[in-house]
């Protein structure tokens, strides 16, 4: 085996030498990298954002960042008190109601109807503090998804489904023991069912504990004229009614009301404020907003929009790297030097993949960091992503270049004809991505394209995941791919392996 891998190493060095000694190929590969950087920086420079406070333009506030490093929305009405050490809260929830603003029927007249959106939520919460983005765990009733236990913005565990009413109230309980928070629910306050537990690393000894309510905007998606879709969000609010409120543990002081994350209007007064009302032992909490990861807005991968264009010169080089050998008859010399043909073609593919990766990685890293800096300098607030996700986006995009290059090479080896291979590679790798993300196709067709074609590999660029517990406009045009990042890359890798395998078969079977 050592002799075999030594042989592969020699073939790899030979193919690398072949690549780097043709000036045109090196130049075209560099051009692909340059296009990726320049288009990225260009689009970043052209994208400006500012937020208005009345007639005054102000810088947009940054998104709060959750414990996992992702951008979050953390806006709710919180009635809370201090809890030191272990303890818990138990409440009975007797109703969840709300209102939704619909498109105005009479222009200028607010059209508000009663109702709750599916992910309106109210319940009990333990939070490290009142700072937006601070770690928390909560047990809640939702508009349409039953009881849930959520923590850290991205984690969601289902409890029992169903709704809540005066006739069938829902009991909720959240206990703290060290860093562990455990959620329970009950129909009668006697027999309790455990929903789940969360470990909040580094939770301070003193935390805030209490009841909350919030309600995300009402999302409506309509078909756009050309294909694609248009999403609109309208104001909603939710109200939870609690009684039989009991806090256990060292909880000195009284209840405090906080409209966490409330936005202020131009005159400094809160915009859509939440509120709390008390009567006897009962408490009503009304809030608007959400406690969830943010899924809309400019993302860190936006400066990588030049990648599809940058891939085109890479595809041309990749095809030429193999079809030039057929055109000039050099393939025979290559096969004399490496008569085990499968290995020889693999070495060639590997050398080209490495070259494409080496060219793409710095280009993608520069476009990503410099483009991100330009976007921020222009007032854009990028949805932050954890460092590991940022590394995956950058390295994954370079891997995308490498795989696309190898796929193009394999097509060249299979088809022998340079022009046909270049066109085929561009049509299967770049074109599906372009049509799926430019409002040409219906969302369903766009998703299908990005699931089965090699363009699925672009999903490695998506930094904001799709969350089941956040209603969002999850479409390709908004930067959401139907497959998880690595699965998308795997689809591309699968296509590449398949075509390379066919090319090897053809090379083995034919006289050279």
């Amino acid at each position: 085996m050592s002799a075999g891998s030594g042989e592969f190493g020699r073939l790899l060095r030979a193919e690398w030498t072949k690549f780097r000694t043709v000036r045109g190929w090196v130049a075209a590969m560099a051009a692909g990298a340059l296009v990726t950087v320049l288009l990225g920086l260009l689009s970043a420079s052209g994208s400006h954002a500012s937020c208005g406070a009345g007639p005054v333009e102000t810088a947009c506030p940054p998104h709060p960042v959750g414990p996992g490093g992702e951008a979050v929305t953390d806006k709710f009405f919180f009635v809370h008190r201090s809890l030191t050490g272990n303890g818990g809260i138990t409440v009975r929830l007797t109703s969840l109601t709300g209102q939704i603003r619909k498109p105005d029927a009479t222009p200028g007249v607010r059209n508000v109807v009663p109702g709750v959106v599916p992910w309106a939520k109210t319940g009990v919460m333990v939070k490290a503090g009142t700072r937006q983005g601070a770690p928390y765990a909560a047990v809640m009733m939702t508009g349409a998804h039953g009881v849930r236990m959520q923590h850290g913005f991205t984690h969601d565990v289902a409890g029992r489904p169903g709704g809540v009413s005066k006739g069938s109230p829902r009991w909720l309980r959240l206990t703290r023991s060290g860093d562990t928070l455990t959620g329970y629910e009950s129909a009668d306050g006697a027999r309790w069912t455990r929903i789940g537990a969360a470990t909040l690393a580094g939770l301070p000894r003193t935390v805030r504990i209490g009841m909350f309510a919030t309600s995300p905007g009402d999302l409506t998606v309509t078909r756009a004229d050309l294909g694609g879709s248009v999403a609109a969000e309208r104001f909603t609010e939710a109200t939870g009614e609690f009684d039989r409120i009991a806090v256990e543990g060292d909880a000195p002081g009284g209840w405090r009301d906080d409209d966490i994350g409330v936005t202020l209007g131009p005159d400094g007064s809160p915009h859509h404020p939440g509120r709390a009302a008390r009567s006897g032992g009962a408490l009503s909490v009304t809030g608007t907003g959400d406690i969830a990861p943010t899924v809309e807005g400019p993302a860190v991968e936006d400066p990588l929009g030049g990648a599809p264009a940058g891939l085109l010169p890479v595809i041309v080089v990749a095809v030429a790297f193999v079809t030039a050998e057929y055109r000039h008859g050099l393939i025979r010399t290559t096969l004399l030097a490496g008569p085990r043909r499968g290995r020889t073609l693999l070495a060639k593919a590997f050398a080209l993949g490495l070259a494409a990766f080496a060219a793409a990685l710095p280009a993608v890293a520069v476009a990503f960091t410099a483009g991100g800096r330009i976007l921020r300098a222009n007032g854009n607030v990028l949805l932050s992503a954890p460092p590991s996700t940022q590394v995956r986006v950058v390295v994954g995009t370079a891997v995308l270049f490498a795989l696309a290059a190898v796929l193009a090479l394999a097509l060249g080896a299979l088809l022998w004809r340079g022009v046909a291979a270049v066109v085929t590679a561009a049509v299967v790798i770049v074109v599906p991505h372009v049509v799926a993300t430019t409002s040409v196709l219906p969302d369903g067709a766009a998703r299908w394209l990005l699931r089965v074609t090699p363009a699925a590999g672009f999903s490695v660029q998506q930094s904001i995941p799709e969350y089941p517990h956040v209603l969002g406009h999850y479409t390709p045009i908004a930067g959401f791919y139907p497959l998880p990042p690595l699965a998308g890359l795997a689809v591309l890798a699968g296509h590449t392996a398949l075509v390379l395998g066919l090319a090897i078969l053809r090379l083995r079977r034919r006289d050279a």
Partner: protein, 305 residues
Amino acid sequence: MRATIEVSGLRKRFGPTVALDGMSFTVRPGRVTGFVGPNGAGKSTTMRVILGLDAADEGHALIGGRPYRALRSPLRHVGALLDAGALQPGRTARDHLLWLARSQGLPAGRVDEVLERVGLESAARRRAGGFSLGMRQRLGIAAALLGDPPVLLLDEPVNGLDPEGIVWMRGLLRSLAGEGRAVLVSSHLMGELEGTADHLVVVGRGRVIADTGVADLIAAASRDRVTLRTAARAAAASALDRAGAAVAATGQDALVVSGLPPERVVAVLNADGVPFSEVAAYRVTLEQAYLDLTGDAVEYRGAAR
């Protein structure tokens, strides 16, 4: 490794065309073996089968007892020149040899050695796309010599060389054989091999017609023939005809006589009183011997390149 090429019972068809029809021969070390035959006789196909580029339908071809595809670092075992034009035009001569050297685990210094041996040092850093056919042949030879192989296969290496290059190539082939290598050189022109090849494998229609030493071939082709120089051509011809010989005129005062040994020719002429100035054993050129041999094996007359 034994420095030999053994070809045994190769058969191959391209559709309805029989390219190889039981091709068998052996190339031994220490001599230049000419591989000759008309175009379409199967020379290039045989060489491609030996080198593992084409697969034969039947039979086998071994280098030092092993099929080409089983060789590790094959260029250290066999050097081949098939098509001197097979070059990436944008790559320099040195870089072309460099990637070949890398593929065999050979040091870069070996590249400069072979460039010097073929006299291309000054053109080493020029792009191969601008090379003349003669320079490409030299570069192809350099590639074949790169791994210092004991076996060499050269397909029409003299093609495109200027007279000086032809002389150089002949000297190189002789010295390579002198170093104990097995050298197989194909040509469709026997004259190119005169003075170079020690041994000949003559092929036609996909099979071997003759596998013989050059001296033996000429002797065999010349056998029983006598050249006669005489001013009385007609008288000599009728006298010899009556004695049972076949006579052919080859010039104003020259005849070639077959069917009678020289001493009988002299006796017949003397008996009839026919004057003559010279009687000698006829010695054909290699080209003539080859044409006699392949006369019925030429498929495409007039199609010679």
